[in-house]
């Protein structure tokens, strides 16, 4: 069962998507989310989400560079900055799974839609509880990052037509240039 979590800087969950099977790629799950489908409702111009390298580039989602692109030093530096910011999400998922430990191994034998619905309800309930307790100031300190951090297979996903692909790539490069300027001062290194 795949779970997609979008969290904010305080490790609070702001959007989830549960219910896809394990064989569905993370990036595909993200594409099924409302946040991806109707970005105008969720973002003002220039706002974006950060993600790891398995996601595809779009104007609302800025992923890290893939392994083969990391040979360029600029990309490597950008990935380091991105990882430092993105660690919050790994913490968020770590807290979620360590606090509600039934999520580590679901002992439900799926026979049909009923059981799937039960799992989705359970997972959503856990996320709501996570937020409730985060708001009440009861932080969970065991921030084990789950053993989930295996580098995924880099599978290029369908990124629309060539024009769009160019546009979104330009967007990521703009973000990268800005980041490098803020952190290292020199835009061209």
């Amino acid at each position: 069962m795949a779970l997609q979590v979008i969290c904010d800087i305080d490790k609070r969950i702001i959007a989830i998507h549960a219910g896809c099977t394990g064989s569905v790629h993370d990036a595909t799950v993200f594409k099924r989310m409302n946040v991806y489908k109707n970005p105008d409702q969720y973002f003002t111009r220039g706002e974006y989400l950060l993600s790891d390298s398995v996601y595809s580039v779009s104007t609302t989602c800025v992923p890290a560079f893939r392994k083969q692109m990391e040979v360029v030093e600029r990309n490597q530096l950008f990935n380091t900055c991105l990882a430092k910011a993105r660690i919050r999400n790994e913490h968020c998922i770590g807290i979620l799974k360590n606090r509600w430990e039934c999520l580590k191994e679901m002992r439900v034998w799926i026979k049909g839609a009923k059981e799937v619905q039960y799992i989705v309800d359970l997972v959503s309930a856990c996320c709501v509880l996570h937020n409730m307790l985060a708001d009440l100031g009861d932080s969970w300190l065991e921030m084990d990052v789950p053993p989930d951090e295996v580098e995924a297979i880099d599978r290029p996903l369908n990124e629309g037509n060539a024009f769009q692909a160019d546009e979104v790539k330009a967007f990521r490069e703009a973000v990268q240039a800005e980041t490098l300027r803020i952190i290292y001062g020199d835009p061209m290194l």
Binding site: M1, A2, L3, Q4, V5, I6, C7, D8, I9, I14, A15, T21, G22, S23, F30, V35, F43, Y48, L49, L50, C61, C81, A85, R86, R88, N89, C92, I93, R99, E101, C102, K104, E105, R107, V108, W109, I110, K111, E115, I119, D121, L122, S124, A125, V128, L129, N131, M132, L133, D135, L136, D138, W140, D148, I153, V175, E178, T179, I182, I183
Partner: protein, 265 residues
């Protein structure tokens, strides 16, 4: 084949004995057998003698045991502090689902919440109904009922608690992230898998994920199946998964009538 319960079996056996003895005209023996028959008839489950698993046990547990738990024990059992638990109770206890119109009221919402938290916060079969039954001495059906009620109550609050940040909050986040180099970032996306303990009965193949990619697929008891592209290593697996999907699609279209069995494997 119909599954006959022990009680049913017993009753049938005694009936047979009674019939035999009435044929034999043995009145004393017939009366004795009748007594057995009535005893068996008066219990619902003969293999499970009736025990008191009423809410009084819950009373005892929450009045006598819970208040004396240390903070650490409470936290490890209910996954939150005592204050956190009280606040959760305040949020949830107004929900309709915890109240009925009967003269026999439900258990206190806080207690139901405790049972649910205990189950949700436990790894593996520690959260199964039987384990909680042993701990709290409640009926298994009651435990499931409480958990489902609490989940429903929590889900009714979902829209208030999982909300997309409004423009002001997004601006605040961008300000915080600006020194880190992302003045436009308003959130972080990531996916995670929730492993299943058992391969699902329906469409089990599609549940395989990428982490079990080196597992040979013909061992069909593995919890996850992933669809991956390392063909040299496990093309066999690739095949089954694809065939499976193809099969589902085609059977939907009802054109694979006679060939489905050999198409699939």
């Amino acid at each position: 084949m119909p599954n006959i319960s022990n009680r049913q079996q017993e009753l049938e056996d005694i009936e047979f004995v009674i019939m035999q003895r009435s044929i034999d005209n043995d009145d004393d023996a017939e009366e004795e057998a009748m007594l057995f028959y009535i005893t068996a008839l008066s219990t619902r489950f003969i293999e499970r003698p009736r025990k008191d698993k009423s809410k009084t046990n819950l009373h005892f547990y929450f009045r006598e045991v819970l208040p004396h738990l240390s903070d650490a024990a409470f936290r490890s059992c209910f996954r939150t502090t005592k204050e956190g638990f009280k606040s959760l109770m305040d949020i949830l206890q107004g929900h309709d689902i915890f109240y009925n119109r009967s003269t026999n009221p439900q258990a206190h919402p806080g207690w139901q919440l405790a049972v649910a938290l205990m189950r949700i916060g436990t790894y593996g079969n520690g959260g199964s109904a039987v384990r909680v039954e042993v701990t709290l001495y409640l009926g298994q059906g009651t435990i499931t009922l409480y958990t489902n009620r609490v989940i429903k109550a929590i889900l009714s609050k979902r829209d208030q608690w999982i909300v997309w940040p409004d423009a002001a909050r997004r601006r605040e986040m961008r300000q915080v992230l600006e020194p880190e180099g992302f003045p436009g970032c308003v959130g972080f996306v990531d996916g995670t898998t929730l492993p299943l303990a058992q391969k699902p009965a329906a469409d089990g193949e599609t549940y395989h994920d990428r982490h079990e990619r080196y597992v040979k697929i013909h061992v069909n008891c593995i919890p996850f199946f992933c669809l991956h592209f390392d063909i040299s290593f496990s093309h066999q697996f690739f095949f089954i998964s694809f065939h499976h999907r193809l099969f589902s699609l085609l059977s939907l279209l009802q054109i694979l009538h006679g060939t489905s069995s050999h198409m699939r494997y």
